[in-house]
């Protein structure tokens, strides 16, 4: 079963461990998955329809079954949340999400020397913002 919030926390914790051990290539991959899962957790909490296993519905196509950075562009483009007082409440907590513009899910196939690991601090910063945003959503009661 899919648990986006739990997965975000797991990827974040493991990414930090890997980074501490200077395993930066895979730390970077996990920061990206952390952000993806965190954003998807928020989208689902805001009512995005899911399959019975908790994953985002395949059909009709919503454009949210994406990895970073595409997913981040959809979310920060303010198209992801309903109108109203909460429209910018959570997105405004994620100023660093654009740091993922040079991240790719395909980095797992790359030669390590070609990875943009200078971006790792930016990726870590954005992932930290996403995790704090999830905390806020929990105490707001929009996410369990």
């Amino acid at each position: 079963m899919i648990n986006f919030r739990g997965a975000a926390r797991r990827h974040f914790a493991d990414a930090k461990l890997l980074e501490q051990q200077v395993r930066t290539a895979n730390a970077g991959q996990l920061y990206g998955f952390c952000v993806e899962c965190g954003l998807k957790a928020l989208l689902v909490a805001h009512g995005l329809p899911t399959e019975s296993n908790g994953d985002i519905q395949r059909k009709p196509k919503t454009g949210y079954r994406e990895h970073m950075p595409s997913l981040g562009q959809i979310v920060s483009g303010l198209t992801a949340f309903p109108d109203g007082r909460q429209a910018t409440r959570y997105v405004a907590m994620l100023p660093g999400i654009a740091a993922f513009s040079d991240w790719s899910v395909d980095h797992r196939y790359y030669d390590e020397s070609r990875l943009p690991l200078a971006s790792l601090p930016g990726w870590r910063g954005a992932a930290t913002e996403v995790m704090s945003m999830l905390d806020q959503a929990i105490v707001d009661g929009v996410m369990q």
């Binding site: 926390r9 974040f12 920060s76 007082r85 909460q86 429209a87 910018t88 409440r89 997105v91 405004a92 907590m93 994620l94 100023p95 660093g96 930290t128 913002e129 995790m131 704090s132 999830l134 905390d135 806020q136 929990i138 105490v139 707001d140 009661g141 929009v142 369990q144």
Partner: protein, 445 residues
């Protein structure tokens, strides 16, 4: 069984925090989410928390009914970044009122630490975040719990009389949902190209600086005065999309330092305009009612907040609700009450003595029951107590007065006396005492 309601839930949760045998560093705070549901937040690891106490709070979560949540006892490990939750600036010592029990005994007040997560309205409690940042020029906020009490007219007349005395006056029309101040002081064609609402829109995309030169205009009302009246309207000249802008103005904006909330943006706007205009006094027309714009203006920005009221039950009830919100947050109360001054608006022409007395008594009762320190009868009043007698002139409850005058109905201050406008004598009669009182408060004159 009757369902647990919103108020009762907080009381039940507050009572639950009085559980004996809790370690001193494990006192729970309450987090009330945006739906009103309550969680217990313990700034410790669950492994350091007594099992018996954990069961007690879990049981309380069930007893809270619809206002409780499963797993509503939260520890540090429930958050990824516990510091941002447990050190959040919106934690407040909060008094949860007592009540009389069915058996005649009295359940006393309980003080809890509460993190109240709200969609709006937090700004009524943000009185201290910039306590050190004293503005260069005094800011006078004009507020009414109800509209239509002559607030904007009084503001315009204060500006006029101050400009006559040579003061540089800056007016800010923050009544965004019901803009009108600038209409009173500026013919539409004299308005600046942009309004305050434009600043919020352009600021959100990072280009507000470029409109600052066309955001403020001179009011012709002060043309023959030694001073000036500079007006920042809500709406710019020739606006055709005001509602589309207003609908976006209150957004939180992402910045490298994190989300910048609307209140902070509004403060930045006011400070930017002050730095550019160098006024000697700033007059802010605030939205009426219990709205965030009013909250930010009164609690966060004002040097003096003038609270316009008529002697009607609706007015007193409205202010009672506002003051009660401050009353249950003692540290907030202390930060705001000294800046308040009530204004008896539309002071009637008949039976003035009786009506003045009636207003004064109602005002004093309200302030005494909510904002003033409660001094026990018979005991000596501490010298630092914030409490005043009924007749104490200069006390927040002792009203400034704006006289009702038929000539100020549908009033156009830009119309000359020769063309049927209002003359200086009428202005002095209606607004003279009010203006003198405000000057005394703000400038000590």
């Amino acid at each position: 069984m009757n369902p647990i309601r919103f108020n009762e839930a907080l009381r039940l949760a507050a009572e639950a925090t009085r559980f004996d045998h809790l370690p001193a560093d494990c006192q729970p705070g309450l987090i009330r989410d945006i739906y009103g549901r309550i969680r217990f937040a313990i700034d410790a690891s669950s492994s350091d928390f007594p099992e018996e106490a954990y069961r007690h709070f879990q049981k309380t979560c069930i007893a809270l009914g619809a206002y409780g949540v499963r797993d509503g006892v939260m520890f540090r490990e429930n958050f990824s970044n516990p510091e941002t939750i447990f050190n959040h600036p919106d934690w407040h010592e909060t008094i949860v009122s007592g009540h009389e029990n069915e058996d005649g005994s009295f359940a006393e007040d309980i003080v809890v630490r509460l993190l109240d997560r709200q969609i709006t309205g937090q700004d009524w409690l943000h009185t201290t975040e910039n306590a050190d940042a004293i503005p260069a020029a005094p800011r006078i906020v004009f507020y009414g719990i109800k509209g239509g009490v002559g607030r904007s007219t009084a503001l315009g007349m204060l500006a006029y009389l101050l400009a006559q005395e040579g003061k540089r006056v800056l007016l800010l029309d923050f009544d965004l949902e019901s803009p009108g101040l600038s209409g009173l002081l500026l013919p539409p064609e004299r308005r600046a190209g942009f309004g305050l609402v434009d600043w919020f829109i352009e600021d959100a995309v990072g280009q507000s600086d470029s409109l600052l030169d066309d955001l403020v205009a001179d009011s012709p009302l002060a043309e023959n005065c030694p001073g000036s009246i500079r007006v920042a309207s809500a709406i710019g000249n020739g606006e055709t999309a005001y509602l589309a802008k207003l609908a976006r103005a209150y957004a939180d904006v992402p910045t490298p330092a994190g989300a910048e909330r609307f209140a902070h943006r509004m403060r930045r706007l006011v400070e930017t305009l002050e730095a550019k205009e160098l006024p000697e006094v700033v007059l802010i027309d605030s939205r009426a009612g219990l709205h965030d714009l009013a909250a930010i203006s009164i609690a966060g920005l004002s040097s003096v907040a003038l609270l316009f009221a008529t002697d009607s039950p609706q007015n007193w009830q409205g202010y009672q609700q506002l003051f009660a919100n401050w009353q249950c947050h003692p540290e907030v109360l202390r930060g705001v009450r000294e800046r308040l001054a009530i204004v008896h608006a539309l002071f009637p022409e008949s039976d003035q003595e009786g009506r003045a007395r009636h207003f004064l008594e109602n005002s004093w009762t309200l302030f005494r029951e909510t904002l003033y320190d409660n001094v026990e009868a018979g005991s000596e009043t501490p010298t630092d107590a914030f409490t005043f007698d009924l007749e104490s002139e200069g006390a927040p409850h002792f009203p400034l007065r704006v006289r009702w005058n038929a000539r100020f109905q549908e009033f156009d201050p830009l119309l000359s006396e020769a063309k049927g406008g209002v003359g200086q004598a009428d202005i002095d009669l209606a607004f003279g005492p009010f203006v003198r009182s405000v000057k005394s408060m703000v400038f000590g004159e």
